[in-house]
Structure formats: C-alpha cells, structure tokens
C-alpha cells in the first residue's frame, strides 16, 4: 500500500467528478476520481483512502455492490453516498448497507465540504472508539446510542414509544463530528417528515450547515421546545433530554427495515 490519500470519488459523470475534485482539492485534500465501481475497488485495494464519495446509480457495479464488496473484504474505508432526491430511498438503504452518510445531489461547494468534513471526523471518532473498545470501559470520545435505540446510519436515532408514537433525535457521533452546534433550526409541530430527508438543520460554530437526516417518516406531534431556548442541551444529553421531536410514524414498517439497533 502506498501513501494515504484523502478522497476517492466514484462518479460516472465526469463534470461532477471534476467539480467535486476541484472543491475538495481547493481545501487541500488529495482527490482521486474514477468513473466506475470496479475501478474504485481496484484503487481501494491498492491505496488507502480516508473517505469514498460514491454515486449510487452507475453503469456496471452500482453503489450498493461497492458497499457489499467493501464489507466482504473487510475494508473499513468510510463511504459517503451521493444521490439525487429522486432516490432518497436508495440513500436510506445505503446507510443501512454501511455507508456513513449521504449528500443529496445537486449540492453546493459548502454543503459538500460540510458532509466531507463531518464524515472524516465521524469515521476518525469511530476508528478511535473501535481501538478504545478493545479495552472495555475505556473512555470514548462520544456516547454511543443506547441499546434499544434504532439508528439511521450514524446520524439520527428513533425510539418507539408504547403509544405508537416515536421520539427521534440526533446521535452524539453526529454532534461530535460537526464539532458542536451554534444554532438549530427545527421543524414545526404538524409538519410531515420523511425518512432520509433533513428534519432539522444544525449550524456548526464554523458556520457550516448540516442537515440532520430524519430516521423515520411521520407527522411531528411535539417539538422539544427546550432546544429552542437552549440548543446546547442537545450536546449535553442527545439521547434523553436532547430529543428533537415526537412523531406519529406514517410508515413505520417500511422505515424500520432500514434502521439498525
């Protein structure tokens, strides 16, 4: 294996690949772009990358097959999927299949960078946790989701309640990856949320904006009003007092298959 590179872009549209390379390259990251998944797998076997940005719909092998192949070979490189809104379901599926995050196309340079930085940080945190986890009881740099919480990738969680409602929130890993929250933009009660579509927008101290992917579709019954006055609450206690919404799930059965315990 040769020296580590930062980002592998797997994208069959050359203009998009170029644009992504340009934006990331401008931030000092080294970028390799390939136009198909087979080529990407070869690159990944030869070089170490810190992050893969991968289109889902491609000729030949698609994004899912790439994820499956990485899982089979035990390659830990984090993958961020890029896909259009038309395939939000695909994005959610890819999170269940092992992708760490996804960015809906089309995106601006800032949105791209926000996702890339967040994913780099979260995978670094995860890697640290993994090595720390070897010695149980070691202090982690983030608090993992409680056992019975359902997770959408590493981003958000949902907790089914007895009344058939669900409480949803954001994972500590996500919060740590965005390095704190300066502002939090929340939906209103009565709004309908869709799984995989941002349900809140967090503004990090550096001004970057991060959409928090909703783990479950449904209607907002209640917003955690405490968060409006005190956004820091979410960082202090993301799994209990820092919940975002109580929702009435609209399609729990199909949503649940993409959530992991």
């Amino acid at each position: 294996m040769s020296a580590a590179r930062d980002i592998l872009v797997v994208e069959d549209e050359p203009l998009v690949a170029q644009a992504v390379a340009m934006v990331c390259g401008d931030e000092g990251m080294t970028v390799t772009a390939v136009d198909n998944a087979a080529e990407a797998l070869r690159c990944l076997s030869e070089h170490h990358f810190r992050l893969v940005l991968c289109d889902i719909m491609m000729q030949g092998l698609d994004g899912f097959q790439l994820l499956a192949e990485l899982a089979r070979t035990g390659n830990p490189t984090p993958v961020v999927m890029m896909t259009g809104y038309s395939t939000v379901e695909n994005a959610v599926k890819s999170l269940a299949a092992g992708a760490v995050d996804y960015i809906p196309k089309p995106f601006t340079a800032d949105e791209l960078l926000a996702v890339v930085r967040r994913s780099l940080r979260s995978s670094a945190l995860l890697a640290a946790a993994e090595s720390a986890g070897l010695e149980r009881g070691g202090t982690l740099s983030f608090v993992p989701c409680p056992n019975h919480y359902l997770r959408l990738g590493c981003v958000s969680w949902a907790l089914m309640e007895d009344e058939g409602t669900a409480r949803i929130g954001v994972s500590d890993l996500f919060l740590k990856a965005v390095e704190g929250i300066r502002e939090l933009e929340l939906a209103e009660a009565g709004e309908d949320l869709a799984q995989g579509i941002p349900c809140a927008v967090a503004t990090a101290p550096d001004g970057s904006q991060h959409g928090i992917m909703c783990p479950m579709s449904g209607k907002v019954l209640e917003v955690n009003e405490d968060l409006r006055s005190k956004p820091s609450l979410i960082e202090k206690d993301p799994y209990f007092k820092g919940w975002l919404y109580r929702i009435l799930p609209s399609d729990p059965e199909s949503n649940l298959q993409w959530l992991s315990l």
Binding site: E13, V20, G84, S86, A109, A187, E188
Partner: protein, 621 residues
C-alpha cells in the same frame, strides 16, 4: 323506428283492446236496435193487416169482389206498402194489389205459406211473431217484411147469403201484406255507420291521449335515458339526468346518475393514480437526468463564488446563478414531492415578498408580450408559515398561465393580496379519521370532489353499503349511496371492524336525527348530521381553536378564459389547455402545494372575459 317504439306498441295495444270492446258493444247494440226496429215494423204490419182485414170484411160478407179489389189495390198503392194479397185455402191468389198476380197459384212451400204448411198438417193459429217473415226477392231489391193474416171462418161467413164457405172450414184464406224495409235498413245502416264513426273517433282521441301520456311519461324519459347511456358509453361521465319525477323511471334515472357518479369516481381514481404513477416515473427520470448537470452547475458556481470573495461584482452575479440553481433543485424536489405527495418545509414568510419574487422571475417573459402586470398588495398582510419556494412556484405557474391566456394580445394580469377570515366549515380538509379502534376511515380509493373521502359502512337488516363523506369539514356533497335515513334504525359502522360510528345518546340539535361521530387523530371528535338538508356539524377543537385568518391571493387576467368543460379537470396532472406548449403539470403541482399548506386554490373563468385563480392559505399553518 316507429315499430320499435314502445309508445307505438302501447298505443296500438290499448287502441286494439278498446276497438274490440267498442266493436262487440256496437254489434250487440245494432243487433238489438234492428231487432226492436223490425218488431216495431212487424207490429205495424200486423196492425195494418188487421186494418185491411176489417176494412174488407164487410165487402167480403157482401161478397162484393169489385169493391174488395178496389180496396186492396188502393191500399197496395200506399208507399209504405209493397203489396197486399189474399189467397184462398188452395193457394190461389184471389185479390192482389198487383193485378197480374190474380189467379196465380202460390207454392205451399213458398215464403208466405211455409210457416203453417211445413208441418204437413197445416197449423191454424199463429202468433204475430211467427206470422212475419223477412225476405229479399232479388239481389238488388230492398228487403221486405211480409205478414200473413189467416182469415178464419166465422158464423157470418157461412151464414152469408152467398154461401161461399162451408161451416167446416177453419181457415178461409190468408191475407198477406208485405212492407218494404228500406227505411228500417237505412236506419240500421246509419247506426252501423255511427258505430264505425264513433269507433274511429275513439281510436283517434284515445291514441292521441295514450300517445301523449306515453310520450310524456315513458317515451321522453326513456329517450333521455338512452341518450344519457349513449353519452356515458361514449365517455362523457359528467353527463347527468335531471330527475323531476317520483315514479319508477325517476328512480331509474336516479340510479343511473348514481351509477355514473361511481363510474366517474372509479375512472377518475384510475386515471389519477395512473397519471400519478406515470408522473412519478417521469419525475424520477427527469430528476435523475437533471441532477448531474445541476450538480455540476451548482458545485462550480458555488465554488467560484467562494473563490471570488474579493470581487463583489462577480460574486453578486455568481450569487444569482447559485440561488437560481438552488431554485431548480427545489423545483425538481417539489416535482418529486408531488409525485410522492410529501409535505412542504414551512417557514415564516411574507406572502407579498413571495409574490414579488415570483413576479421578478417572469418579468422578462411578460415584457416580451404586451402584458401589463398590476399588483395590489396589502401592506398589512399578516406573515404566513409556508414553504416560500413552493408558494413562489405556485404564483409563477399562475402568472405564466395568465400570460399564456392573454397570448399575443394586449392584456393585463392583476395580482391582489389581502387578509380575509374564513369559517372552518368548507375549508378544513379531514385528512385522517379513525374509529374507536383506531382504524383509518379516510380511504384514498374513494374520492369526493377529487379528495380522499371519509368512508363508512351503513347497515340496515340485509341492506348494507359504503358511504363517502366529503372530507371538507362542514361541506355538503356526501356520497350517501342510497343509504336510508339514520332515524330509520340504520347502523353506521367502521368498514374494518364494524365499531359503531353513531354518537350514542346524542341527537342533532337542529333536527333531532341520530348523528355520526368519528375522531380525527389529535384533533378531536367530528360530529355531523346526515339528514337531507340539515347539514349540522361540529368539530369542537377546530371550531373553537380555529384561526379564521387567511391570506388570499388573486391572480386575474383578461385573457381567453377557460371553457366550462375543462374546469373540473384543470388541476389534474397532464391536463393542459395549451396544447404542446404545456406540460399539464403546473396547476397539478400548484394544487398539491396549496393543498399541502392546508389552503385552497379555486378558479373562476369565463371564455373571452378572463380567468381568476384564488389561492387561500391559512395564516397559521
């Protein structure tokens, strides 16, 4: 055509029956009439013959043959008498009004003798009835009535001086008088003619009356039904019969309308879901295709914008590219949202500002034509909670449509905004409703006015069926599908679990009928009365907490207008009046957006005068 006509058949049947009745009646009538006429003539003839007998009796006794001849001849000359004859026992004609007959013999088997002589031994006494006979001597001669009057022997006869007759003889001879029946026959013929005339008149009048009745009561409604059936078969499912009757044909027409309603609904649903499915596929395809180019544009432009921080001029221009590309992204997303029927991302916004932004986008397009854009925006408009991008899309769609309606001509688009207040009834749509066991009652399969209806089951004995309530709270136009009135002991239940949906122990405060009740999740109980013309309804949580503040935006043009027939389909996907110029999505998307904001969008239009679209959005979403 005439032969197949049910009216003709019915008229024909009735007339035939009446004709038969009149015929039989007339026949018997004429029979009895001619019988009485003849018996009258017979009586008259008998009297006449008695008169002749007594007139000649004296001369007979005196045996004055000349005088008897003279008398008989004179009597026979009378117009009402054909002839008078007297013949003796052996059949020889002794006297006759017709001179040549005298001296000739009469065959005993002949007409006048037959009565008495047919029995071999001649009879000597006969009833008047039996003494008369009717006969026709030749085919062209009139019928005659003959009466024979036997001349019996009397003491004066055998004791007379002439000693012409022996005492032992009983019958001396026969006086035979014949009378022509010309007058009687004429009377009978007249009666027959009268009967025929009467029958004809009756047929005429009867067929006229029956025909008119059949035409009014059967023919016309049936013809209307046939026309309606053809119309519906031809695809015009909007065709309705006007029902003004309470008979079976009225019922049939009602049923027909009902059937057409259901057919139309089914077709609309099929159509809508078909359209939505293809729209979904199309949108996904378009979104996928357009995403990559948009990604390149957006990434490059936003990258350049970041890089051009020192050059505000360039940055401003790039900002336009970035924000417009983001708008494209939102449009693509909305298209998908529409296909997926998801809900907007609402933020506090100023409707006037949104209208202003929409106007800016199409300014250039308007300037190319000769269209003037007048804005009358209420500066005191309350803020609304809407998805600004989506609402902008709505106004752009409406203004572009308005400009297209004006076309090459000069014209004006007028956009007005104002705050209004609306009562919840007729505005709020029930999008979800549940029974006590939490089964969803809003069924997308059934629609009332293109909205998914609240569907309940009714039961009364064996009779059962679904009814579809208009999901607009307080609105009329439920599809009750022949449900008997609730006060007749009809059960109203959840179609899934048969839990009763009749409010127990409660009655309509207006008319006292039983009322239905179901729950809207998180929004409380909805109650209402289904009695025809009552329309009472209550939804406490909405009635009391209702914020009646709405923002109304009107987009009016003086363009070509929309034909009435197209208005019901205006908001359907792929319905376009612009031919190849339109995609047929604009108004469908707009409708979806406004609907997702719990608002309404309506249209009023008159061909050649103009069109106005009215968008109403609640201030509090």
């Amino acid at each position: 055509m005439l032969r197949r006509n049910i009216g003709f058949k019915l008229t024909f049947g009735v007339v035939l029956t009446v004709l038969l009745a009149i015929g039989i009646f007339a026949w018997f009538n004429i029979q009895s009439q001619s019988r009485s006429l003849l018996s009258e003539v017979g009586r008259h003839a008998s009297q006449l013959s008695d008169a002749v007998k007594s007139d000649t009796e004296y001369d007979m006794l005196r045996n004055d043959r000349e005088r008897i001849h003279e008398s008989i001849r004179r009597i026979g000359q009378q117009e009402s008498i054909d002839r008078v004859r007297v013949f003796n026992k052996s059949g020889e004609i002794i006297y006759s009004s017709e001179e040549p007959d005298i001296g000739t013999m009469v065959d005993k088997q002949a007409e006048s003798c037959y009565r008495c002589h047919s029995a071999g031994e001649p009879l000597e006494r006969l009833e008047t009835q039996e003494r008369t006979r009717i006969f026709q001597p030749g085919p062209d001669s009139p019928r005659l009535l003959g009466i024979i009057n036997p001349i019996y022997n009397a003491p004066s006869c055998w004791s007379a001086a002439c000693h012409a007759h022996p005492e032992t003889q009983t019958v001396l001879g026969v006086l035979d008088v014949t009378i022509p029946l010309t007058e009687v026959d004429r009377n009978i013929r007249r009666s027959q003619l009268a009967a025929v005339a009467l029958a004809l008149a009756v047929i005429l009048v009867l067929s006229l009356i029956v025909g008119l009745m059949v035409r009014g009561w059967i023919d016309r409604p049936v013809r209307e039904l046939v026309a309606a059936t053809r119309n519906v078969a031809g695809g015009n499912l909007a065709y309705r019969l006007t029902v003004k009757r309470d008979d079976e044909l009225g019922l049939l027409a009602n049923s027909f309308n009902n059937m057409t309603d259901k057919l139309a609904q089914a077709r609309l649903q099929l159509f809508q879901s078909d359209k939505l499915a293809s729209l979904g596929r199309l949108a996904a395809g378009v979104a996928h295709e357009i995403n990559n180019p948009l990604t390149a544009v957006l990434t490059y432009s936003s990258y350049l914008m970041k890089r051009s921080q020192g050059r505000p001029e360039t940055q401003k221009d790039l900002q336009v590219i970035v924000s417009e590309t983001i708008r494209c992204r939102e449009i693509v997303k909305n298209l998908l949202d529409f296909a997926r029927q998801t809900v907007p991302k609402k933020r506090k916004a100023d409707m006037n500002e949104i209208i202003g932004r929409a106007a800016k986008v199409i300014e250039n397009q308007l300037a190319l034509g000769r269209v003037r854009l007048d804005m009358e925006l209420d500066p005191a408009l309350p803020g609304v909670t809407v998805d600004a991008n989506q609402m902008q899309q709505v106004f752009i769609n409406l203004m572009v449509n308005a400009a297209d309606a004006i076309g090459e001509n000069e014209g004006a688009i007028k956009v007005t905004s104002k705050a209004i207040s609306l009562h919840p009834a007729g505005v709020v749509q029930i999008k979800s409703a549940v029974c006590r066991k939490r089964h969803e009652l809003v069924d997308r399969k059934f629609q009332v006015d293109t909205r998914p209806a609240v569907t309940l089951r009714f039961r009364k004995g064996e009779q059962t069926g679904l009814i579809h309530l208009n999901p607009i709270y307080g609105a009329e136009g439920h599809h009750l599908n022949d449900m008997p009135p609730l006060e007749d002991g009809v059960e109203l239940v959840c179609p899934d679990c048969s839990t009763s949906l009749i409010a127990e122990g409660e009655r309509c405060p207006q008319c006292g009928a039983p009322i239905y009740a179901f729950e809207v999740p998180l929004k409380g109980l909805v109650q209402g009365c289904l009695r025809d013309g009552c329309g009472w309804h209550r939804w406490e949580q909405v009635d009391s907490n209702w914020n009646d503040e709405f923002v109304e935006v009107r987009v009016e043009d003086n363009g070509c207008g929309i034909p009435k027939a197209q208005i019901p389909h205006l908001f359907e996907p792929f319905s376009t009046t612009k031919g190849p110029k339109g995609t047929g999505l604009g108004l469908a998307v707009s409708w979806g957006i406004v609907d997702n904001h719990n608002g309404t969008i309506t249209v009023e239009s008159e061909v050649g005068v103009g069109t106005s679209f009215v968008v109403r959005v609640p201030v509090q979403a």
